[in-house]
C-alpha cells in the first residue's frame, strides 16, 4: 500500500516535471565494474583489450586521482547517495561487521532510510531508472533496488555470485539472491553475467524508447569479482600473455602508466609483502598462475565487449548522442585466494561443499572457482600500494571516466582529487536536477557531502576541493584523511602495520615516502581532523584483534548455525518433559 501511494505521488511528480523538463535532458549510464584494479583497462595502462571503454575515455574526461571506498557495499552506498558510509548505514559489508558494531544503528550494513538514492531523486524528476547487476545494499524486501528508486531491476543482493548459473560463490550464502523487479527469480539456462546484464538493460531501455523521458541506467557488473570466470574465447586471447609473472606485469604497467602521463616519470612503487617471488615458482605453478590472470583478463575483456554492445544499441537507436557515460570501479583489485596450485584434496572438498573445482583445464568456466590472488592483484593495482579492503591507494584509487553529451576532452588527464560521494551530485548537476533539501519522500534525509565534478568537466575550475577541505574515510579499521595533495593513512593487519603515515599522493601516488616525521605539524593537524571526522560520523572502533577474513567466516557460521542451534534448543525443550515423565514414571513403577 505504502509503495502504491509512493508510486502514485512519484508518478504525479514525474508527470509534472516531464512537462517542465525538456527531452533534451541527457540519459545517464553509470557503469560500475567490481574489483577492477587501477591499471586494468588499456587507457589506464593495461595490456587487456578494452576498446569500448577506451573510446569513452578518449572522447571524455579521464580522472587520475579519483578515490572510492576499498570495499564494495560502502562504495555503492556512497556512490548512490553522496552521503558518508557511516551515515547511510553501510560503513562495511555486513559479512565483515563484528557483532558489537552490528548492534549500532549506523552499522547495519544495509542502506538506511535516512538517505535518498540518486535513482529516487531522478525518478521523482521524470527519469526512467533502470538497474541490472549487483546491489549488495540490503536484501530485505523494502531495501531492494526496486524499492529504492529503480523502476525496473534485475539485481543480485549478495557480495558476489557465480557468473554462469544461480549459485552462491561462498558457503555463507544458501543460494544466490537474484530478484527481478523486487521478486526473487531464477536465471536463464544460457546465463553469463556480463552478457545477461547488458541484454536485460537493453530490454529495459528499449521498452520505453521514444516516450520523451530520459533514463538513468545503472549497470553494476559482477565482473571482475570472485569467482573470476569468462567465456573460453575471451580466455584464449590471453593464454601465454602472463608467463613472465606478476612482478614483470606490475613493472610493465607502471612503465605504461608513466608513458601515458597518468603519473609522473619519477613515480616510484613499493613491492607488497604478499607478492611472491615469481622466479622461485615451479613450472606447474607458473603455468597455473598465468592462466588465472588470463581468465581475469578475459573477464575484463568480456565486460568491455558487452559495454560495446550497449553503446552500439544506443547508437543504432539514436540515443547515444544524448547520453552521458560514467565508468568506474567499486574498489581496487581483489587479493583473496592464495598463490599456489590447489591440491586434489582441495578440489575434492570444494567440489563436495560448493560444487566447484579450481582445476587448470576448466579454470574460469562453469563450475570453476577462480580468483586473482594477492600477487597478481598487486600487479592489477600497479603502480599503487595495497589492494581491495586496505586504505592504500591500490584499494581506493580506481579509474573514473565521464564521457558523452557535452563533455569534451580538453585536458589529457584530470588530476584533481575526487571522491565517490561526488558521483551523485555530479549526476544531478548533469541532469539539471536539484539536490533535495532536508526532506525527501516525507523523510528527513542526510545531506550529501560530495561535490559536483561538473566544474571540472566544464573547465570552470582546477579543483572542486579547496586546500583546506578534508575528506575522511574509515572501513574495517583502515583509516584515511585526504586534504589537498596529502593523505593521512592507517592500515590494519594482516597486511598493514597499524601505523599512521602521511603521503603526498599527487607527487607520490605509490605511497613510498612517508612524510610524517618531516611534516609533523601537518601530520598532527590531519590526525586531529581525522578524529573530528570519526566523532562527527559516529565511527565505531573495531574490536581488539579484528581480522576481516576471520569475521566473514564467523558471521557465515553464525548465519548457517543460527537456525540449527535454535532447532536443537527447541528439540531439547520438547524432549525434556518426556524424559522427566519417563524417569518419574519408571521410579513409581519400581
Amino acid at each position: 500500500m505504502l509503495r502504491l501511494i509512493l508510486s502514485a505521488s512519484l508518478t504525479c511528480l514525474a508527470l509534472t516535471t516531464s512537462v517542465i523538463a525538456s527531452d533534451e535532458r541527457p540519459n545517464i549510464v553509470l557503469i560500475l565494474a567490481d574489483d577492477l584494479g587501477y591499471s586494468d583497462i588499456a587507457s589506464y595502462g593495461s595490456e587487456i583489450e578494452t576498446p569500448h571503454i577506451d573510446a569513452l575515455a578518449d572522447a571524455g574526461v579521464r580522472f587520475t586521482n579519483y578515490h572510492t571506498a576499498a570495499s564494495c557495499a560502502p562504495t555503492r552506498s556512497m556512490l548512490l547517495t553522496g552521503v558518508d558510509s557511516h551515515r547511510n548505514g553501510v560503513p562495511n559489508i555486513p559479512e565483515m561487521l563484528p557483532q558489537d558494531q552490528l548492534a549500532q544503528d549506523n552499522y547495519k550494513g544495509v542502506l538506511n532510510r535516512n538517505v535518498a538514492t540518486v535513482a529516487s531523486i531522478l525518478q521523482s524528476s521524470g527519469y526512467h531508472t533502470y538497474m541490472t547487476g549487483k546491489w549488495h545494499l540490503g536484501k530485505e524486501p523494502d531495501n531492494l533496488p526496486y524499492f529504492r528508486g529503480f523502476e525496473r531491476t534485475f539485481a543480485m543482493g549478495d557480495s558476489g555470485a557465480d557468473n554462469w548459473e544461480k549459485k552462491p560463490y561462498i558457503p555463507i550464502y544458501k543460494d544466490a539472491f537474484w530478484t527481478a523487479d523486487g521478486k526473487e527469480t531464477d536465471l536463464p539456462e544460457d546465463f553469463y553475467s556480463s552478457e545477461f546484464l547488458i541484454d536485460t538493460m537493453i530490454e529495459f531501455i528499449d521498452r520505453n524508447k521514444g516516450d520523451d523521458q530520459p533514463f538513468f541506467a545503472y549497470v553494476p557488473f559482477q565482473a571482475v569479482h570472485i569467482p573470476v570466470q569468462a567465456p573460453q574465447e575471451f580466455i584464449d586471447k590471453y593464454m601465454g600473455t602472463y608467463g613472465r609473472g606478476w612482478q614483470v606485469l606490475r613493472e610493465q604497467r607502471q612503465q605504461r602508466i608513466k608513458e601515458l602521463g597518468i603519473v609522473a616519470k619519477d613515480t616510484e612503487m613499493v613491492s607488497m609483502s604478499t607478492t611472491g617471488d615469481w622466479d622461485s615458482q615451479d613450472a606447474e605453478t607458473k603455468k597455473y598462475q598465468s592462466k588465472r590472470m588470463a581468465v581475469y583478463a578475459g573477464m575484463v575483456d568480456a565486460m568491455d565487449h558487452h559495454i560495446g554492445r550497449l553503446i552500439a544499441y544506443l547508437k543504432k537507436t539514436g540515443q547515444y548522442d544524448n547520453t552521458i557515460f560514467i565508468f568506474t570501479s567499486d574498489n581496487g583489485s581483489e587479493p583473496s585466494g592464495v598463490d599456489r596450485v590447489p591440491s586434489a584434496i582441495n578440489n575434492a572438498i570444494m567440489r563436495r561443499s560448493q560444487g566447484y573445482t579450481a582445476e587448470y583445464e576448466t579454470l574460469g568456466l562453469k563450475g570453476s572457482m577462480n580468483s586473482l590472488g594477492p600477487s597478481f592483484a598487486s600487479a592489477s593495482a600497479s603502480p599503487l600500494s595495497f589492494y581491495k579492503f586496505y586504505a592504500g591507494e591500490g584499494g581506493m584509487r580506481v579509474p573514473l571516466i565521464i564521457s558523452g553529451k557535452g563533455i569534451s576532452r580538453d585536458v589529457d588527464w584530470q588530476r584533481s582529487f575526487s571522491y565517490v560521494t561526488d558521483i551523485t551530485p555530479t549526476i544531478l548537476d548533469l541532469t539539471g536536477v536539484s539536490q533535495p533539501g532536508q526532506f525527501f519522500g516525507g523523510r528527513h534525509i542526510e545531506q550529501m557531502i560530495g561535490k559536483s565534478l561538473v566544474p571540472l568537466l566544464n573547465k570552470a575550475t582546477d579543483n572542486v576541493y579547496g586546500a583546506s577541505d578534508t575528506v575522511g574515510y574509515e572501513l574495517g579499521g583502515n583509516k584515511v584523511l585526504f586534504q589537498g595533495n596529502y593523505k593521512l593513512v592507517y592500515n590494519i593487519g594482516p597486511v598493514g602495520d597499524n601505523q599512521w603515515y602521511l603521503y603526498d599522493i599527487a607527487k607520490d601516488p605509490g605511497e613510498t615516502k612517508d612524510l610524517a616525521a618531516r611534516e609533523t605539524k601537518r601530520f598532527q593537524a590531519m590526525l586531529n581532523a581525522y578524529q573530528r571526522y570519526a566523532k562527527d560520523n559516529n565511527v565505531r572502533p573495531i574490536p581488539e584483534g579484528y581480522n576481516q577474513y576471520r569475521q566473514i567466516i564467523l558471521n557465515g557460521l553464525r548465519t548457517i548455525a543460527k537456525d540449527n542451534i535454535l532447532l536443537f534448543l527447541l528439540t531439547i525443550a520438547v524432549l525434556v518433559p518426556f524424559m522427566l515423565y519417563a524417569r518419574s514414571h519408571g521410579r513409581r513403577r519400581q
Binding site: D563, L566, L567, L570, T571, V574, L575, F578, Y581, A582, H585
Partner: protein, 124 residues
Amino acid sequence: MTRALQILVFIPGLLFIINGLRFAVAPEPMLASLHMEMLDGLGRNSQIGDGGAFFLSMGLMTLLGLVTAKKAWFQAVGMMLILTAIFRILSWLLHGAALAPDLAIVEIVFAIVMLVASRKLARD
C-alpha cells in the same frame, strides 16, 4: 527385543519432532525436502501451520506412546501415516500428482513399526 523396538520407535518420533520444529524455524528447506516451494500469503500460512502441526503431533504422540505405554498413541500415529500414504496414492491416481513412492514407502514402513509397537510395547 523391547529395547530395540523402543529405539526403532523413538528415532522416527524424534525425526517427526525435528521436522515439525523446522516448519517453525526454517520452513523453506523443510518444504523443499517435501518437493514444495514456499507459497506467499495464506498459502504460506497453511503450509507452515498444517505441516508443522502434522509432524509435531506425530512426534509428540510417538513419545507419549513410549512414556505412557498406551497403545492408542501408537495407533494414532500409525493411522496418520497410513492415511498420508493412501492420500498420496489417491492424489496420483485422481488428481495428476506425481507419484512419490519413496515417501509412501517410508510412511508405510513407519506405520507398520507403530502398529507393531502398539502390540508389543503397550501395557493397556
